[in-house]
């Protein structure tokens, strides 16, 4: 009896084993086929793309540039467009395509003009004349000019005539006070590029929506732009200090979970009962 049972068991085992093998092999074969198909398709795709790339390369470069421009046709803020034009003009030796990369996204600058105490300048300067000397004695005497190692004075960036409501570029162009970065960018063009691209300066508001970045003058005083050393916020308490404080106090026992409080009360109750 036992022998026959063993035999039947062996047969069933063999059948099961074979079945398993079959299943595994089927699965494997399907997998292999699928992979092969994928490879084929990807190869075809790469071939396609390679050929198309070649064709595109064969075409005239101008067309490509036009295409890129069409793709990146974003409505730029007037200030931003101006900057791009300026930078283009400045970097004449660079090719067009490299300058294209400068544009990442249009931005907005929080208006600054309205915050100025003395703006619009022409309110006072309609009558008052500009002082010819370099020392300020009657008005604005609190201004300290420490910019460019004494190479500049007021009329480097401000107009002497009737255009006082605007800033003055080195080419005597008018620059709006809300676009003052154009003025700074005349010398600090590398910084300006960083600022435009987000590697310098500060973005405010949202990381995902409209890009709002602060103007240079929000952080740097244009008349004395270097940032002065200052005392930092309080020093964190060191572990040793905390230990010193705690060593004189009795150990605080405040429990974590509300339920544990309950267990504590129960323990106390039992303790009291026991002492009775």
């Amino acid at each position: 009896m036992r022998n026959s049972e063993k035999q039947t068991m062996a047969v069933i085992g063999a059948i099961l084993f074979l079945g398993l093998l079959m299943g595994v092999s089927l699965l494997l074969s399907q997998f292999v086929v699928a992979e092969a198909q994928e490879k084929e398709t990807s190869q075809i795709q790469t071939e396609d793309s390679a050929s198309s790339e070649q064709e595109e390369e064969d075409k005239e470069e101008e067309e490509d540039e036009e295409d890129e421009e069409e793709e990146e046709a974003v409505e730029l803020e007037p200030g931003f467009q101006k900057v791009v034009d300026e930078v283009r003009a400045f970097w004449k030796r660079e090719s067009e395509s490299e300058i294209e990369e400068l544009v990442i996204s249009p931005f907005r600058v929080p208006p600054r003009k309205e915050q100025y105490e003395y703006y619009p300048c022409m309110d006072c300067h309609e009558e008052q004349e500009v002082q010819p000397e370099r020392e300020l004695t009657e008005e604005h005497e609190d201004l300290v000019l420490d910019h460019g190692k004494q190479r500049f004075w007021c009329l480097t960036c401000h107009f002497a005539g009737k255009e006082k409501n605007y800033l003055r570029s080195l080419k005597e162009q008018k620059i709006d006070f809300n676009e003052s970065h154009l003025l700074c960018g005349q010398c600090h063009f590398e910084r300006q590029k960083d600022w435009l691209m987000g590697a310098h300066g500060k973005r405010v508001g949202s990381w995902s929506e409209e890009r709002t970045i602060l103007l240079c003058v929000e952080c740097h005083n244009p008349h004395s732009p270097a940032i002065k050393p200052q005392l930092p916020d309080p020093i964190p308490k060191g572990i040793r200090e905390i230990r010193m404080e705690r060593s004189n106090q009795p150990h605080k026992i405040e429990t974590k979970h509300e339920l544990i409080k309950v267990w504590d009360r129960i323990a106390l109750k039992y303790k009291n009962e026991r002492t009775k």
């Binding site: 691209m197 990381w207 916020d233 020093i235 974590k256």
Partner: protein, 312 residues
Amino acid sequence: MTDKKAAPISRRNFFKKAGTAGAAIASGTTALAVASDVLEGEAYSDALKEYFQKHYRDMSKDEVKAALARIERKAKRKHGVDITVENTAPYAREDTVFGYALNISKCKGYRKCVYACVEENNLSRDPEIHYIRVLEMEKGSMDLEKSNHYFGEDPVPKAGKFYLPVQCQHCEDPPCVKACPTQATWSEPDGIVVIDYNWCIGCHYCVIACPYWARHFNWEEPVIPKEEINTETHYLGNRPRERGVMEKCTFCIQRTRKGKMPACLEACPTGARVFGNLLDPKSEIRYILENKTVFRLKEELNTEPKFWYYTD
């Protein structure tokens, strides 16, 4: 069968077993009875439900909703403040992965970020917990062991020093997550490493695993002045914590998942901090990664931090 001897049930053993079982049952029932006396009504049921709360990722929508309401009620009882706890869903992995970049040539060590973070994230004021450590380093050296964490008696920046703020680096391959025995910490689809404070048992394995000293433990019940509690909170972020749980920087999950900037970035007076979406090719952080000299802390450990330091 005969060789196996049945243990004779002695009278003494029987009474021992029966006695302990009875005592357990009795103590249990009395415990519940006493408990219901101490914590009445809602507080009692809340405490019980919190005790048996599931892991955050295992809870159904209704269960999460109930848990959020429980936390709000508890904050009201404990701190006397009406807070809102949310569980803003993560961005999809395909769209958004958060990254951070910090310009160490701009950081001057003013520590504004440290205290902005304390206020935003309801960190304990006593004992102090700071998610951000600003290290004063010798110029030309990256020896973290010789850095000074406790600078600040003189005005900063000092000559010959640079400042290196260190916080949670939100690694792609986080060693803290690997170390956690209860899976109370994990990496969200948008790349933020979070903790379920209810599931943390406070075993400190993650502290030991983290090479950036980014995890902080509540050794005592956190003390926050009532009027300084930030009432806009997130379940995985800045909701009030308890004694005995781990906590860490979450890139201000309660803010960034709504499109806002992290608090440390908003507070930075030098504009050294840049936050953004690593998958957006037009984002500022991508420009920095592609065009600036960047490095990551302890890169050789292959933790793949999503926190870069760069220089001008």
